[in-house]
Symmetry: C2
Subunit: 580 residues, 2 copies
Amino acid sequence: MLQSKILIPTKKEAPSDAEALSHKMMVRAGYIYQVSAGVWAYLPMAYRVIRKVENIIRQEMDKAGAVEMMMPALLPADLWKESGRYESYGDNLFKLKDRRDRDFIMGPTHEETFTEVIRDSIKSYKKLPLVVYQLQDKFRDEDRPRYGILRGKEFEMLDGYSFSADQAGLDQAYELQAKAYRNIFDRIGLDYKVILADSGTMGGKNSQEFSAPAEVGEDIIAYTDGDYAANLEKATSKFTGVQQTAEPKELEKKPTPGAHSVDEAAESLGIEPDQIIKTMFYIAKMSEEEAEPVLVLMRGNDEVNEAKLKDELGCEELTLASEEDTVKYLGAHPGSLGPVNVDENIKIYADNYVKVMVNMACGANEDGYHYINANIDRDFRVDKFGDFRNVKEGEIAPDGHPIKFTPGIEIGHIFKLGTHYSNKLGAQVLDNNGRLVDVIMGSYGIGVSRLLSAVAEQTADESGLVWPDSIAPFDVHVIPVNAKKADQMEMANEITTNLEKAGYEVLLDDRKERAGVKFADSDLIGLPIRVTVGKKAADGIVEIKIRKTGETVEVKTEEVANTVGILLKQLSGQDANEAK
Amino acid sequence: MLQSKILIPTKKEAPSDAEALSHKMMVRAGYIYQVSAGVWAYLPMAYRVIRKVENIIRQEMDKAGAVEMMMPALLPADLWKESGRYESYGDNLFKLKDRRDRDFIMGPTHEETFTEVIRDSIKSYKKLPLVVYQLQDKFRDEDRPRYGILRGKEFEMLDGYSFSADQAGLDQAYELQAKAYRNIFDRIGLDYKVILADSGTMGGKNSQEFSAPAEVGEDIIAYTDGDYAANLEKATSKFTGVQQTAEPKELEKKPTPGAHSVDEAAESLGIEPDQIIKTMFYIAKMSEEEAEPVLVLMRGNDEVNEAKLKDELGCEELTLASEEDTVKYLGAHPGSLGPVNVDENIKIYADNYVKVMVNMACGANEDGYHYINANIDRDFRVDKFGDFRNVKEGEIAPDGHPIKFTPGIEIGHIFKLGTHYSNKLGAQVLDNNGRLVDVIMGSYGIGVSRLLSAVAEQTADESGLVWPDSIAPFDVHVIPVNAKKADQMEMANEITTNLEKAGYEVLLDDRKERAGVKFADSDLIGLPIRVTVGKKAADGIVEIKIRKTGETVEVKTEEVANTVGILLKQLSGQDANEAK
């Protein structure tokens, strides 16, 4: 492909609002163009990467026995009203009307539609299990679209769905998808973690999340050098609390004027923060009609993990109480709260690390006052102890290795949905005993467009993008230093032809630009190998440069295809290793 | 591919609202599923066809030097407001708002967005010409979606755009696209006509339309056995009028009570319809402020061609006058109109065939009365003669051959847009003299999903679909008559493996269904070749059937791959010939 025939509008400057390296470099390299906040055009180079990712996905889905099809993006709202998500999806859902005033949405995901198709198409377990998928643009009205194509309003997804008449069928499909996902990310050469994830609003346990470590990741992943990885919300560590042995002292109320935080209270009282009980007051929404106040006690230097708490409470929503509610129930503002003399209608949950403490300090439920020497049972009750805290780096994970933290980009997610949607939408089949049963579903997704961002975050450097060969838009960038010189252009053409004959994809920079411009653009564009045809062309010698390492080697022109082959093979091996 | 693993929900009955053969058969064959009126899911079989069409398109676009990229479907409304199409596109445009109340549309086409990208990306003629394209779902809020995926609210398009700094660049891109379009339709094996089209609201002359003859086509194509083809609005024929030589008689007013049509008036007056002047009264909107009344005279048995009239008048809109306006201007209702004694502010246009008539009958501009013996100049004026009529079948086309009519489905359209959009949106480059010039654009489109309907309309029969091999979802359907018999399944598997090794795509019907069900499904699905493994399997003999012709031949199993190869080659040849 001649560079003069393809649209690669490189730029010297990144957009002023760009924070992420991938965003800056993909714009500067002429890969993407912002049409509106969170709405992007994939220019030819980015689209070549997308197509390569799609090809890898299709091959692996094929191997996993999944079948491709295509749903509309424009969806009638009815089904989403039936499933309840027309409301629960909130402002993220793009809603629109047709000319007859009927409600439609732009699909952000397709559980309902697939369930409906299966409901209307399959009546017997004999036609199951079935795994279908699509590669499609989805729509989500992000409140804060950012980081380029990492978080946009329109984005490409692989979404797959499995349908089976029994649990074994689901388990099998789920395992095949999990394997396919690993293969896909391995082949792309991405560094990723497989983590136990909170399944959020998707409904249903048994899920795995695939996350790519990167500075701009929106999640914190707790992982080890072993095989443990979890989102911070789910991560657990070995309990290392030791029962304190001091004699209980007398409960005493102390003035702590102006002390609103644990640290301030500790200073005011002249004690360590870990001897203070951090007290948080929540409202747990148990159902549409019922809400319960809950007091949560943590060791002073620990953080509440609301996801764990919510799981334990089994509530629909868990929100920090308003100041108004706090004062109403406890008589003081946040910063002066504690468990002593709390009304018995308020449940008290405490983290396990509180259980081993004696002579604790805590708020006195009176603004500006704390108790010291509070002790469990004697001075306050605890209804339930449990693991309600965030783990910390260095703590020991369940696999015995110390925990590390990294931000991560969610790139894939697989769920055992069960019968959540089939039950709501009436998708039933006859099982092998002739009984009608709800179809058991799984749902599987990869963020295709955001994969580009994830790779770029992990591989780009200060000069530009650095693509792994598996998804690079071209394998080789051939650059005649001076395109006006006939011998250089001739040799560049010959090398291009030879490389293409050998099966490589080549971008030939035939532009009449200065050498500096060409090299800078080449670094930005980030193809794995660059072949520079310069002055030594006259002697039949060209330079080969590896974009990733900057290493160069001079070779004879007839050795170019051979050398490129060896280097690309080495690079693929490196990418695969580093990703592990 | 095992048929048990793919979703092909065949049906005995077509949907009750299905009129078109393609609609009925694609639903019955389990290819498509209606999610909402005009909104369809492409089930795995249809999507395989789509992907094959896409591959052909990509190869031909590549050859034509066009580069693929991908725009968002969600588009900010601003640009469409600038171009004027936010209003002019009317109810067909899907409009929506984001959470910040900003206006968006779902793109029905992408001229504006591409123009903007080029405006922001290219500053010099040196980077031009450039041809870009995308394969993307478009959205149009059809008033009457129908015929299955032929006319839907969401549909896949190939849309391409060329940009150049001079006319020569446009002409070259246009010719390359025209050639590529022919190659694409030829390879698909479609019967199509290349016609001179009215470019409608796209702005700009110089366009070609590609239309596939089919009963449910929405346009009438006038074509010949030569190379002439035109939409009825544009079609012309050789003028064969002969000057009438009768002596002018005296103008006379006759009562014609109850005669409102040409035929009724002819009967009432005792003359032939072709001796009557059909008189139509129009309002021509010349601009936002200015409208002109126009009287149009046709030979009684001819039909007005409003597109030709509109071209001649150079007006923005041409509408038949309301009854109220007609009475106001002419003093009578439609049915009694004529050119005699018409106010001189009303322009009178007459078709060429009126020019040769003498002693004509016409309405008297008095309800219930006609004149007879009206003559041009003596009794009424004509401001302009011209070709304002629809051609008729059998008339001689400009290529010397008699005209035939067929309904046609528009499958492609190419336009020389010129500077319409670049001018409105400020897309300019420096030309080779250093002057800023508007970029010259072309726009090119193929209805990808509706191509499936067009092919099915042309090839399906009463048993089901009949795909040309170029886009068939699989090449061969292998059917063991009784999947419970081990020897048949074994041989079917072996044949499948051999065919796949030879490079063919095979669907193996491994379902434990009755033979009748399998054969009926196979006919519905419509793969080019069927291999039936039945009782003679024991003797190493199977039956090969050509779906298109119903011809069968028995061959030894070891000859299957060879025979399939020969038959597919023959079929491709036939398809290509028939399409010519």
